[in-house]
Amino acid sequence: SYLSTAVGQLSAPQHGDVSLLVQVLICRNYKGDVDMVEIDHFLPLLMQQEEEGLICPVMSHGNVHFLWIKHNNLYLVATTNKNSNASLVYSFLYKLVEVFTEYFKELEEESIQDNFVVVYELLDELMDFGFPQTTDSKILQEYITQEGAKLEVAKSKVPTTVTNAVSWRSEGIKYKKNEVFIDVIESINVLVNANGSVMSSDIVGSIKLKTMLSGMPELRLGLNDRVLFALTGRDKGKTVAMEDVKFHQCVRLSRFESDRTISFIPPDGESELMSYRINTHVKPLIWIESVIEKFSHSRVEIMVKAKGQFKKQSVANNVEVRVPVPSDADSPKFKTSTGHAKYVPEKNLVVWTIKSFPGGKEYLMRAHFGLPSVENDEMEGKPPITVNFEIPYFTVSGIQVRYMKIIEKSGYQALPWVRYITQSGDYQLRTNA
């Protein structure tokens, strides 16, 4: 049994008189086995959990289970009274957000009210009797449009794509110039302990496409994938071992499983073709050493050293080192060897920004804060230092696009363009503070 009943969307003001102001914005009862008044229990339950500090994405009241996510200030809530597939429900709720965002730019109270007719239409097309149906927004946009009156003719047909095995691309797409842009983006996740040892690190890579190709092209992507090279017996140059790979619906998974070929008919326009995870221990590209000394009732002194641990030829752009400070700190003073530091009191952070950070360099920032003589007696957590950066023309893992073959029956020539970027992912360094 899947999502058994309804997708309701609640809008709740974040602070304020809760139970009165809240109302259901829109809902669609797919099965009729859960009474829609049940949704009234949702908010009190949520409030209760928030009060106890134990929120949970699944809640229940009697026989009814609420599975919810939050987007902006909206709650998207699915209700069921069966043993539903919970992972499907959450996947679907996130898909809803994606579709609505593509339709209305922003998913918020206003955009739902402004477009409630389309929202109803979409809810009907996205799910039937609790079974998710067509959720590809590009295809949906071919027959469910926002300006109904104008597109009467186009709308009156179901694109065959909806039920095709290739459900993500319609026929008859035309471009004057046939091109594919490939972005290889690697995000580094690092967790460093206060004593400087790397607790965990991995690379999450993503290959994104912007496809501007006519017709129904067959694409094949070649990477320096270690398993592939081992399989084919070739062993030239550096290869990369991907721990786990995830593909867009368009990629033929069985084919990949049998001979590691990445073959597909791409969706038109932008899409994420694949993502991968690499477990190899990477040296944190930007290394941070910090000394944070807190003198109670008097001051906090912060010293942060940042070092670029990557090739000299590369440059990290827009580096941001975010250092936590106590919430009652005041009168900030900074000194930096490069870039500039700024105090962001609403987030209890010092943000040190370095526009351009070449590999091998080392920079220093000092900060000084006053502390009130009467101290905040509330316990404060120990948030880590986080770092944001972006290094173009470079992948940490060394992954490379070897080729992208594009074959279409009309025989046109198409050009693939490749771009590499490495950036920070979840990049946390714990402090001693």
């Binding site: 049994s1 899947y2 109302q23 259901v24 829109i26 009729g32 500090g53 134990l54 994405p57 699944v58 026989n63 599975l67 919810w68 996510i69 009274n81 069966k82 043993n83 539903s84 597939n85 919970a86 992972s87 499907l88 959450y90 996947s91 709720l93 996130y94 206003e110 009210q113 402004d114 477009n115 409630f116 007719v117 109803y120 009907d124 998710p132 027959y143 009467e152 179901v158 909806v162 039920t163 095995a165 302990n193 607790m199 965990s200 786990d244 790979v245 995830k246 593909f247 619906q249 990949f256 499983e257 694949m274 993502s275 995870r277 316990m379 404060e380 957590g381 120990k382 979840d426 714990r430």
Partner: protein
């Protein structure tokens, strides 16, 4: 102009105005009006009065308008059933529209109109749509069958829609196939035994082909459906696994989890020595880890499932500890789950890292998270012996922080560490005592009191400490009161001279001033024990405590199996079977993992309950205490069983009975009643006593021994001193005993369970003076070996230990062999050894043979014995009737064996009753020509079912029994058990 304007016109007379607009000639105006109506509906206003006017707008070629009218219909048809009929014509017409979008829209809406009267008009249009040339219409019609079935199941069956739906599984279009599968699965769910899906190798093959072509959602429908199939043999199982594994690379987490479910289930059938089995294990880890990069809610679902997977197959993720390290910005529900999994994965290899992390977490601010982190440190100490010292010092560091809740948690876990490693870390007691005053949580207070009582002889001012608690005795929670009572009795037994007054005080507080029956009764028991036989009291109260198990909060194996079959669903998130939270699912069959197939070389390994990592597999299990959050919320309420194996009620109840029997007997037999005992003459019949039955956790007789946490071996030490049990009975006492027997029965002790008489297993002449005779019994779900050890040697014996060779059902001791020492010459001791079935498995000949090694300070001795297979019949061995019929048919006739049971003079009902006592359940009885046929089922601990047909003819002392089982080799032993049970 946006739609939001429609929400603003809310004046009086609105309905009237709308009515006029709806009947306008102008198309645009009509459409605007319908939009206003829908807007009102959306904000919850009742616009049902407009029903006829809106339905009038239905016949339009404007698609948008039509959709809105349909939306309105779905909402209000139920409240206006008579008028809804008006819509039927349009539906019928729309289902014939040249535009497939309109045909589909009509068929989709039709099914949502839950009005019985209408449904029959819809059958013809639906039939057409199911055969429509356009797949978009067919896929919508497929779902409509499920909708209609929900409204009127009989109609759908009569109209033959189910067959049409089955045909759609072979449709050329993948989306149609996917929806047909989803619809059929949904219908099948309400008819659990209908065999509607009729999965067979051919249909499975079709599904697997469609899997490659349909949308991500369709893939989930198909995978979830596949998970219900049981492959015929390991080869089929492997080939399905091979075709499902590519799904692990899908970007949608829900597809991945559904694929994991199929693999985890089918893997069960693969021989472990198969290369492919290892390959599959390796393939599962990376996608599970990647799920942790998904959105937090999906991470949560993944973590709850990983928690199950780690218990079922610890080897999959054993090297992945680091990915479960908690990030500062993880939501609290993710943090708590990660912590749980970290402890499960903790091992000697990674303990240093884990501890460093836990220490870090313990200094965070989130109270619940910190508490759990502190507790986790204690659990690591218990789990990884090498780390215990470091854990204890970490906990002491944390106690120094003086953060109140950290200190309390630390004390609770240190108590468990003391239990696990007696006489090792008592040096820290002084530090603990310093924090006595700051403890305000019952669990922490109880733990501290236990420590003081347990180590009273080493704490100079133990009496003062305990006395300080006595002042507010009645304000304490029951947990603390019970613990205080026990602790003071222990203190008294250790330092009798200076604490007599204290013990008097606590006994009178507990027995005279308390309304709590548990407390009062425990008080009485101590009182009588102390006054009757202080030596016995000492033996009982200060008995050596059994070890506590390493793992806690493990999910009970059958539930775990069921939950594995529900991976990805709410059940897997709640860690509860669907029957616990879905209404009307009581009768639904619990899902089970398939048994390892009978075709491979390893067919003799019927080990389905505990596969994988046997050495790591924990020996005991705590029944799930509900979901994690519930657990945390109820910190104070849960009985103190956070560590230690489940209290196997039988042995302990027995212990309690022996104890009471002995105590009361000696008391009553002796006419001179001790004057200071306020013995209630009506005790046995007093209503308060009956209170126990529903609340065994609070009355866990283990506590009598001054324990926190139950233990299976307790029964043994209780059963030990038979010498103090005089046999004279008088009326009230026997009444008391039967009362207690009822109590035992109340917690499910099968009174009629057949226990063979003891036989000599190891004659003294073969074992240097040690004689062992014994038998096997099953008491309240626990298999135990009951032995009489006799020392026929000239010297004292000690240092006993016992070990089993691998055997057919993985029987293994669930605890150490507890022999009270010194075991002097000519002494006889009764010992009960609880067994579990998670040991290593090897097929024996005969099947029920058990090879045992017993060691003592003299030598090691070996013997073999045979246990009646009925000991392994589990309590939930009663099969559903329908399932029985299907299974009986399903098992090939070659597997059937027939036996004669001669000279049995019971009638069929008596036989049935007797057999039920040994967990042989009668499912149905049929009488044909004066011959009673009993259909019976039983289930072995490893999940193998045995089906039986027992023919009993009045006046004929010879029964005929036919047994059917997928593992026919058990038949002989089962037959022997029947004979034994029936004739004894």
């Amino acid at each position: 102009m946006t739609d939001s304007k429609y929400f603003t016109t809310t004046k009086k007379g609105e309905i009237f105005e709308l009515k006029a607009e709806l009947n306008s000639d102008k198309k645009e105006k009509k459409k605007e009006a319908v939009k206003k109506v829908i807007a009102s509906m959306t904000v919850g206003k009742d616009v049902s009065a407009l029903f006829p006017d809106v339905v009038n707008c239905m016949q339009t070629d404007n698609l948008e308008l039509k959709k809105l009218v349909y939306l309105y219909l779905m909402n209000y048809a139920k409240s206006q059933p008579d008028m809804a009929i008006m819509a039927v014509n349009t539906f019928v017409k729309d289902c014939e529209d040249p535009n497939p979008l309109i045909r589909a829209l009509a068929v989709r809406t039709m099914g949502c109109i839950r009005v019985d009267k209408i449904t029959e008009y819809l059958c013809e249009p639906l039939r057409k749509c199911l055969k429509d040339e356009d797949p978009y219409v067919r896929k919508t019609a497929a779902v409509c069958v499920a909708k209609l079935h929900d409204i009127n199941a009989q109609l759908v069956e009569d109209q033959g829609f189910l067959d049409t739906l089955k045909d759609l599984i072979s449709d050329s279009n993948p989306m149609v196939v996917a929806n047909a599968v989803a619809a059929l699965s949904e219908i099948a769910e309400s008819h659990p035994n209908s065999n509607l899906l009729d999965l067979n190798p051919q249909s499975i093959n079709k599904l697997l082909t469609a899997l490659n072509e349909c949308t991500e959602w369709g893939q989930i429908f198909i995978l979830d459906c596949l998970a219900n199939y049981t492959p015929r043999d390991d080869r089929e199982s492997q080939s399905i696994c091979e075709r499902v594994t590519p799904r692990l690379s899908h970007a949608n987490s829900a597809v991945v989890l559904s694929a994991v479910k199929v693999l985890m289930k089918f893997m069960e059938m693969l021989p472990k020595d198969l290369d492919y089995y290892g390959t599959l294990l390796k393939k599962l880890a990376p996608p599970l880890v990647t799920l942790l990069s998904a959105e937090p809610e999906l991470q949560y679902v993944a973590l709850r499932n990983i928690n199950l997977i780690v218990q079922k197959r610890p080897e999959i993720l054993k090297h992945e500890m680091k990915v479960f390290f908690v990030k500062y910005n993880d939501p609290i529900y993710v943090k708590l789950e990660k912590l749980d999994i970290m402890i499960r994965l903790a091992s000697q290899a990674n303990i240093a890292q884990v501890l460093a992390e836990l220490k870090e977490y313990a200094t965070e601010v989130d109270v619940d998270f910190v508490r759990k982190a502190v507790r986790a440190i204690g659990r690591c100490a218990i789990k990884v012996e090498q780390s215990a010292e470091r854990c204890v010092s970490t906990l002491l560091d944390l106690i120094q922080t003086k953060v109140n809740y950290v200190v309390q948690e630390a004390i609770v876990v240190i108590k468990d560490i003391f239990r696990k490693y007696p006489n090792k870390y008592e040096s820290v007691i002084a530090t603990l005592c310093e924090n006595l005053d700051s403890l305000d949580e019952p669990e922490a207070r109880a733990a501290m009191i236990w420590i003081v009582g347990e180590y009273a002889e080493r704490i100079d001012n133990a009496d003062e400490l305990l006395e300080s608690f006595l002042e507010g005795f009645h304000d304490e929670s029951t947990q603390v009161q019970l613990q205080l009572l026990t602790a003071i009795v222990k203190l008294f037994l250790k330092k009798p001279t200076e604490t007599q007054e204290l013990v008097q005080q606590v006994l009178s507080l507990a027995t005279q001033d308390s309304d709590n029956p548990d407390l009062r009764d425990r008080g009485y028991i101590y009182w009588r024990l102390l006054s009757t036989d202080p030596v016995a009291a000492k033996e009982v109260v200060l008995a050596e405590k059994p070890l506590i198990s390493e793992e806690t909060d493990l999910i009970e194996p059958t539930l775990l199996e069921e939950l594995i079959c529900h991976i990805g669903t709410l059940a897997s998130v709640y860690h509860k079977p669907p029957s616990a939270f879905v209404e009307g699912s009581r009768g639904v069959q619990h899902k089970r993992l398939p048994a390892r197939a009978g075709s491979g070389e390893s067919a003799e390994s019927p080990d389905t309950v505990s596969t994988g990592g046997v050495s790591e597999a924990p020996p005991a299990v705590i029944p799930s205490q509900g979901d994690l959050l519930g657990d945390l919320l109820n910190l104070d309420l849960t009985p103190p069983t956070t560590t230690g194996p489940p209290p196997p009620t039988s042995s302990m109840q027995m212990g309690a009975m022996d104890l009471l029997g002995g105590g009361l007997d000696s008391l009553m037999g002796d006419d001179s009643e001790p004057s200071h005992i306020p013995l209630r003459t009506d005790t046995p019949q007093s209503p308060q006593l009956h209170h126990h039955s529903p609340s065994p956790p609070d009355y866990s007789p283990t506590e009598l021994g001054g324990d926190i946490g139950g233990s299976p071996a307790m029964g043994a030490s209780f059963g030990a001193p038979p010498a103090v049990m005089p046999g004279s009975f008088n009326a009230p006492v026997s009444g008391g005993l039967s009362d207690l027997f009822d109590l035992g029965g109340g917690v499910g002790m099968p009174m009629g369970a057949y226990v063979p008489p003891k036989t000599v297993w190891l004659p003294a002449m073969k074992a240097k003076g040690l004689e062992i005779s014994g038998t096997f019994a099953r008491r309240s779900g626990v298999v135990q070996m009951e032995m009489t050890l006799t020392n026929k040697a000239m010297s004292v014996m000690g240092d006993f230990a016992i070990q089993f060779n691998r055997n057919s059902f993985g029987l293994a001791p669930a605890g150490p062999l507890q022999v009270l020492t010194p075991f002097t010459p000519n002494q006889s001791i009764e010992v009960t050894l609880p067994l579990n079935t998670v040991g290593p498995v090897m097929k024996m000949e005969p099947l029920n043979n058990l090879q045992v090694a017993v060691k003592n300070n003299i030598d090691v001795f070996y013997f073999s014995c045979q246990y009646p297979i009925s000991m392994l019949f589990v309590e939930d061995g009663k099969m559903e009737r329908q399932v029985f019929l299907a299974t009986w048919k399903d098992i090939p006739n070659d597997n059937e064996s027939q036996f004669q049971i001669k000279d049995c003079h019971l009638n069929s009902d008596a036989a049935s009753n007797k057999l039920q006592g040994s967990n042989i359940f009668t499912i149905a009885k049929r009488t044909v020509d004066g011959q009673d046929m009993l259909y019976q089922s039983m289930k072995l601990t490893n999940g193998i079912w045995i089906l039986a047909e027992l023919k009993v003819q009045a006046g004929n002392p010879n029964y005929t029994i036919s047994l059917k089982c997928r593992a026919p080799e058990v038949a002989q032993s089962v037959f022997q058990s029947y004979e034994a049970v029936l004739k004894n």
